[in-house]
């Protein structure tokens, strides 16, 4: 198999807390339930689980960072951890480092604050600082300034599959020699407008609502996931210990109705086939699902997997969102990190070295990633 890129650093912030260790702390204990009923997410049904990252984990507490949109603070925390983990100092690498920043909703809470002044006071009194923070590009800009990154900067706003799209773009930039290292970060924040709008559009469950007025849908959450990618050649030359290798990325779109998902899962089926390079899922030892508890989206994913035939039923399926909620763009990143942790620690019995990571958006877009997780496997692939 052809390998485009290796992962050499990880960072995460999730409702479980700050750091990869917080995300994976309970994984071993919880995996049986995450695998047992992948398409019937009920963990957060009727309880008061909020999906928020605990305030206590915010370490970036100087005045400037406090004014930053919550999603970008989460992103910076995840990037700091991933860079530290990889041992790479971007400012030493000049323009050979690129940023791939992904989000679904972006800095919506700042946009709301800006609009409060615009509509309730006067356009002349809006805050210039808030204005610059309303842009989706602000997150990548903050990372570039904080770490001295002068290479390409992509701000990817691709629904729930942004991280997987960004991995493909980063692999492409690495293979073209545009960069030697890629900082990927996917982030989304929880805010009042977002939560209410997801409920009103029938996507999210009204978590914690005593009325139970929305019975179905996902549990909205926030978080950030960061990965440091490099090429196999750089990995060899710089003696990095790869944590995983990117084997294939596939994309699909159902090209059907706006803001609806094709329940037959055509988009995800296309993406999965492109990622594995054919009709056979026997190379895959585990599928880290997009499943989030939304009945139509979950049905679409089930159909997409079933389209590979009866043998696909034997592949363990992990629904991580039972544990961390639906954190939109950040979700596939958290799935990748968890799958690497699982492979490294042998949490799921594996017959092959490959895991499949799925992402599916309400709008009909999907992506899938084939990953060889675990340092030994990634090393073997490089050699």
């Amino acid at each position: 198999m052809k390998m485009d890129a290796c992962i050499v650093g990880l960072g995460a912030v999730s409702p479980m807390g700050a750091g990869v260790s917080a995300l994976t702390r309970d994984l071993e204990n919880r995996l049986p339930e995450l695998i047992a009923s992948p398409f019937s997410c009920s963990t957060h049904e009727g309880d008061d689980w909020s999906g928020s990252v605990p305030d206590s984990v915010f370490e970036l507490d100087n005045a400037k960072l406090k004014r930053m949109p919550r999603c970008n603070r989460l992103a910076l925390m995840a990037v700091d951890e991933a860079l530290s983990h990889s041992g790479i100092k971007p400012s030493d690498e000049s323009a050979s480092v690129g940023i791939f920043y992904c989000t679904d909703h972006g800095p919506e809470s700042q946009t709301c604050r800006f609009l409060d002044t615009l509509f309730l006071k006067t356009p002349r009194l809006v805050s210039p600082l808030l204005f610059q923070n309303t842009t989706f590009a602000a997150g990548a800009g903050e990372i570039s300034m904080r770490h001295g990154v002068q290479g390409p900067s992509y701000s990817v706003v691709n629904g729930f599959q942004g991280m997987l799209t960004a991995i493909d773009l980063a692999s492409m930039a690495l293979s073209l020699g545009r960069i030697n290292y890629a900082i990927l970060v996917a982030t989304d924040e929880l805010n009042t407008l977002q939560q209410q709008s997801l409920v009103s559009m029938g996507l999210a469950r009204d978590v914690g609502a005593s009325s139970g007025k929305v019975a179905h849908g996902f549990a909205p959450a926030e978080g950030a996931a960061a990965l440091i990618l490099t090429s196999p050649a750089t990995c060899r030359a710089r003696h990095h210990k790869p944590l995983a290798s990117i084997i294939g990325v596939g994309h699909g779109h159902d090209a059907m109705r706006h803001r609806r998902t094709d329940p037959e899962g055509t988009a995800l089926a296309l993406a999965m086939r492109a990622a594995v390079g054919g009709e056979d899922l026997s190379c895959v030892s585990s599928i880290w699902l997009a499943a989030n508890g939304h009945p139509v989206m979950d049905e679409a994913e089930r159909c997409a997997i079933d389209s590979f035939g009866a043998a696909s039923g034997n592949v363990p399926r992990v629904a991580l969102k039972h544990l961390v909620g639906e954190s939109h763009a950040a979700a596939p990143g958290l799935q990748i990190i968890s799958s690497i942790h699982s492979a490294v620690n042998g949490l799921i019995p594996e017959s092959t070295p490959f895991s499949l990571i799925n992402a599916l958006s309400p709008g009909g877009g999907a992506a899938s990633l084939l990953l060889a997780a675990g340092p030994d496997r990634a090393d073997a692939l490089i050699d």
Binding site: F119, R124, S153, V156, M201, H253, A267, S361, G365
Partner: protein, 396 residues
């Protein structure tokens, strides 16, 4: 190619308007002057695009960005001659640059909510920048990658450059790439409070430049591999040769004074195109007419092309006619460059006179007959995003 902006509803009209040096900048008559830093805007008037709100394929709640985007997208598809949805399958992709996405709908929703406590879900459906892509994917039958890049004013230049990379790495045969942004109160107020808006004309590179005027536009280009184009006897309108992108790592809204990031983006594009500075015979500048941008961009161009060459290298800013269309600017300026070069002229920097030009460069102040074929187009955005594209017109 397809385009819609304040001076034209399609590419043929755009060519004529650019040649004429038409201005799309108008004074907004429906705003209270005491509330805004400027009343100038380059919006798309219904008079030149009466079909904006009459697209039967779109739901009635569709955002203005979706409507403008669909018009330019349809024109580009039609001009490309790609025959059917089958032709636009999973080996095809959509790559869109936008800063605001469906912000018109978002503002409509938010004003109802915050001022009248009325919740109208319909205005949220197109709010996400990704929403327009879903419309365009359904419209075209593309089932491959759907990409939205939101790197501020460099967004659609990045979308085009990424499309270029997707094709040359063999990931795709066809990528429809472009950008869309609308004129909104959010950006109008925001750019105003940053002190970047002109209260009259836009005068790029002039001593008397006072800032930019916000516009709105959509522009798309169908990019296709040479092999795929030849296999269906398509007639190329131009060729994309190079793409460079960098970050300033300096400031969120100001360019680095020495233009380092912009310089490197241009050099990367030249290297990518395997071209030398002498191969470039026209530059469509970012040219916003703000004090800092124009000075920085000239420094960067001087660093790349040399002081002597800048005296004779034609440079213009079409933002003087169509305003700053933010995320759409890179794609619109790519279309404007190719249309102009294919028709044998260089578009002007209107409102700037030859006598006013502050810098030592050949600023095209009136449209000029030209046999130039290779052009560079620059886009620089908030967050320190820089992009440079190089095209060859089909005239060659």
């Amino acid at each position: 190619m397809g385009a819609i902006c304040s001076i034209a509803a399609h590419t043929q009209a755009l060519g004529q308007a650019l040649r004429n040096g038409d201005s799309g900048i108008r004074t907004l008559s429906d705003r209270d002057p005491s509330q805004y830093h400027s009343l100038q805007a380059a919006t798309v008037p219904n008079a030149i695009a009466p079909r904006i709100n009459a697209d039967n394929l779109l739901p009635e709640w569709s955002d203005r960005a979706t409507r403008l985007g669909s018009m330019a997208f349809d024109e580009a598809i039609a001009q490309s001659g790609l025959p059917s949805a089958r032709e636009l399958s999973s080996r095809s992709a959509l790559s869109v640059g936008t800063t605001l996405g469906g912000m018109c709908s978002g503002l409509r929703f938010y004003e109802d909510w915050i001022k009248r406590d009325v919740w109208r879900t319909r205005w949220l459906r197109d709010f996400s920048p990704y929403a327009m892509n879903d419309h365009l994917m359904a419209r075209s039958g593309i089932t491959g990658m759907s990409l939205v890049l939101s790197s501020a004013c460099a967004a659609s230049a990045h979308a085009l450059g990424t499309a270029f990379d997707l094709i040359r790495t063999g990931r795709c045969d066809v990528v429809i790439a472009g950008g869309v942004d609308t004129f909104t109160d959010l950006t109008h107020a925001g750019f105003g409070v940053l002190g970047l808006l002109s209260q009259s004309d836009v005068k790029p590179f002039s001593r008397e430049r006072t800032g930019l005027v916000l516009g709105e536009a959509a522009a798309f280009l169908v990019l296709e591999s040479e092999h795929h184009a030849l296999s269906r006897d398509a007639e190329p309108l131009g060729e994309m040769l190079g793409f460079g992108m960098t970050s300033d790592a300096f400031h969120m809204t100001s360019p680095e004074a020495d233009g380092r990031g912009a310089t490197e983006a241009m050099r990367m594009a030249l290297a990518c195109a395997e071209a030398t500075p002498d191969d470039i015979v026209y530059i469509n500048a970012h040219g916003t007419a703000t004090q800092k941008n124009d000075a920085t961009e000239v420094l960067a161009m001087e660093a790349v092309f040399g002081l002597d060459r800048m005296e004779s290298l034609p440079v213009s800013s079409t933002k003087s006619m169509v305003g700053h269309t933010l995320g759409a600017a890179g794609a619109l300026e790519a279309v404007a460059s190719l249309v102009s070069l294919n028709e044998g002229f260089l578009p002007p920097t209107i409102s700037t006179t030859a006598e006013d030009v502050e810098f030592n460069l050949d600023c095209v102040t009136a449209s000029r007959t030209s046999s130039a074929t290779v052009a560079m187009s620059n886009s620089f955005g908030f967050g320190g995003n820089n992009a440079s594209l190089i095209f060859r017109a089909s005239a060659s």
